[in-house]
Amino acid sequence: LSRIALIKVQPNEELYCGVESACRKAGISRGLILSSTGSLNDAWLLRPCATGGREEICVSGPGLEIAGLSGEIGFDPNGCGTSVFTGWVTRDDTTVTAGEFVRGRNIVCITYEICVQEWVLPVAQAVR
């Protein structure tokens, strides 16, 4: 059996902070997102740009639904969050935008519900 943390993040809390603080509380130092649903005030996403590197974009809400979010939760040796979340957000007309959620900028609108599975197996350092 593997441990699963059920998490609810309240409105106006930041996405990464909320999930990472819940995982700390549950004693999960590395986790895999199994499923999640929720909404954001506005969505701040990183996307690759044609000229190289990545650009930060904002999709204006409120009430943007997170249509799918994947990623992992982790912490560096100092306890700072290193999680990375990618996914899709949808507007009221059902159109979709995707990217990597920007740390510190994605604020929960109504709720964010997430199930995190603890990652207990050794993590590969590099794979070719």
């Binding site: 059920l6 799918g68 599975q117």
Partner: protein
């Protein structure tokens, strides 16, 4: 896949928005309950069956209160979804908007959900993205009884959860009924 780039506001510089909700702010900002799962189970929703109802039926038969799941891939023959919309003019930050009918056959690109309990039985909360029959990605909130599997069905990865569950409760802060993680009081051992 083409994204609606024309409605993306690029490189906006203002700080993240904090919005005022109608009810009192709850003291606990993040709620957690820890359980365990023997999953994932691989399920297949057969053609003609509703995705949300199939998940509800399976977890009911298994006898658990909650599950995390992903609809992984498959075809959809009939689909209605809801989206979120600003409701600032009427005192709430946001509300549901729709239903929106998605042109089918549609292709499931990905869908996440959680199943839990409410006063009236099981409740499913699932968000997904689908490619409509015109090739456009569409999302988001699945409406139970209005998301019907198409030819070949839909494959699900489902994690039944023991010792903890989501339960739907009235949230005074937002004015919505929302899932809250709960410890399963019938459990003997604390798995944490």
């Amino acid at each position: 896949v083409q994204f609606a780039a024309e409605v993306v506001e690029s490189r906006m510089s203002f700080a993240p928005r904090i919005l005022l909700h109608p009810g009192p702010k709850s003291a606990e900002r993040v709620t957690t309950a820890t359980g365990s799962s023997p999953g994932p189970y691989r399920l297949q929703v057969v053609q003609g069956a509703d995705l949300c109802e199939s998940v509800s039926r399976w977890i009911s038969q298994r006898g658990c209160r909650s599950a995390a799941f992903r609809f992984l891939h498959g075809n959809i023959q009939s689909l209605q979804i809801m989206t979120g919309k600003s409701d600032l003019d009427r005192g709430r930050v946001a509300t549901f908007h729709g239903p929106h009918t998605v042109s089918c056959p549609a292709l499931l690109l990905g869908c996440h959900g959680v199943a839990g309990t409410s006063e009236s039985g099981y409740r499913i909360h699932a968000h997904g993205v689908f490619l409509d029959s015109q090739g456009n990605p569409r999302g988001c909130h699945l409406i139970p009884r209005h998301c019907i599997a198409g030819e070949g069905g839909v494959v699900v990865a489902l994690y039944p959860i023991d010792y903890a569950y989501f339960h739907s409760l009235a949230d005074a802060e937002t004015g919505f009924d929302l899932f809250v993680p709960m410890r399963d009081v019938s459990s003997i051992d604390d798995v944490t």
